[in-house]
Symmetry: C2
Amino acid sequence: MEVISRTACFGGTLQRVRHRSAACNCDMVFSIYLPPQAASHPVPVLYWLSGLTCTDENFMQKAGAQRSAARLGMAIVCPDTSPRGTDLPGEHDSYDFGSGAGFYVNATQAPWSGHYRMYDYVTRELPALVEQNFPVSSGKGISGHSMGGHGALVCYLRNPGVYQSVSAFSPICHPSACAWGQKALSAYLGEDRNDWVAYDAALLIGDAQEKLPLLIDQGTEDNFLTDQLKPSTLEQACIANHYPLNLRMQEGYDHSYFFIATFIEDHLHQHAQGMGLV
Amino acid sequence: MEVISRTACFGGTLQRVRHRSAACNCDMVFSIYLPPQAASHPVPVLYWLSGLTCTDENFMQKAGAQRSAARLGMAIVCPDTSPRGTDLPGEHDSYDFGSGAGFYVNATQAPWSGHYRMYDYVTRELPALVEQNFPVSSGKGISGHSMGGHGALVCYLRNPGVYQSVSAFSPICHPSACAWGQKALSAYLGEDRNDWVAYDAALLIGDAQEKLPLLIDQGTEDNFLTDQLKPSTLEQACIANHYPLNLRMQEGYDHSYFFIATFIEDHLHQHAQGMGLV
């Protein structure tokens, strides 16, 4: 584990860390924000999963979440969005597949299965590493944006008891039924759609064993709303399963970090409630 | 004037605007954030001048200032940091001179004098354009970072009565006496150091005709503190002239936008006081 940068921010510390990942079989970089409270006692961690083309840096630079995290006493960890430096055939050819687009799955298909194991990375390897090496508690929340919103929902739904809070911005709600999801899931998991269910929130939520309140913000002017994100599919599944979803359609907002920045304080507050901080 | 993007943000609207600049004799792009209050009445404007290598976008994406601006009822305008698209000899050869590094001067030396007139642009042309085309009042404040902190101090000190508030982050306080300033001022203004005085805050502040309270934040771990920024030179000039300077040395902070984001709320509050908003 190597700290590659360290920056003061809102009374706490933002670090970027490089380490060898066993899950992804390559070096990975993540960002971690430790609030001022971490100097005196272990703090819970919000895991933030970013969207297509992002790295560990976008959310930390653009969402302004450190401000609320510093007040609430919450750490934030941002993993990268895919393995890096593996240079598989076609890995860098499109923005919505391969590098920057790991979709938080464990790939089963060659050549991806050797590295693209982001599900294990974000649910197991990364939290273990963070809990061993930083002053954090075992308290965990998870959130994300777009592809990362999909990732957050899937990680939460498949791991009851692990997270104390969950939310998402503009998530890909039903990847089996949109172009982004079909392209990624077929290549990473193969053509058998039964294998996609484990990575599809709209299909998983009907069997949710735990029902933490789910906050989702979605902009009405988001260019990807109708064709890719499809929050109504998740909403209908929640209604059918009596799942407590708070889906807020935010009038006039798009898919950008300006949208995330506007509403991140609400999300952190809900996570803080789940974590017992407020 | 052409609006090239429009994004909802904290209940207001962020726009990027392209227009023909007479001062710079080229097309220029600026960003403007209008808070929700601008829908019902004209709001004052904070002009933010960015540092080396920046465009109109960095501050809007990374500082998180829209949050406070939306609460206070203040517009923010971010100009670019130099003329663009002029392709003068050597213009793009270094990060600290030419494109991205206009230093907010009116150049007098060939070939720069035909375009590099950022002082006129930010103090005259841009405010007139903004006041004609957007729902803003004539109330103005000015702030900036690094090269832009220098620009903010110079624009304020040379235009008594024009601005109601002034502040800076990590400004280049005495450009005549640092490498960044000497390189830029000698090329834009010529070798006669008497011509540099009009663009050197530490030299101008002794003759300040107006003494608005000046808030400056400076990180103690800023790599440029000792060699380029030299806040002690400005502090000494303020003491000699009984100028009300609040220079806050912020322990452990560096030169980054994470530093700006941490303290921008304090600055906007002071600007709001000057503008009569609080």
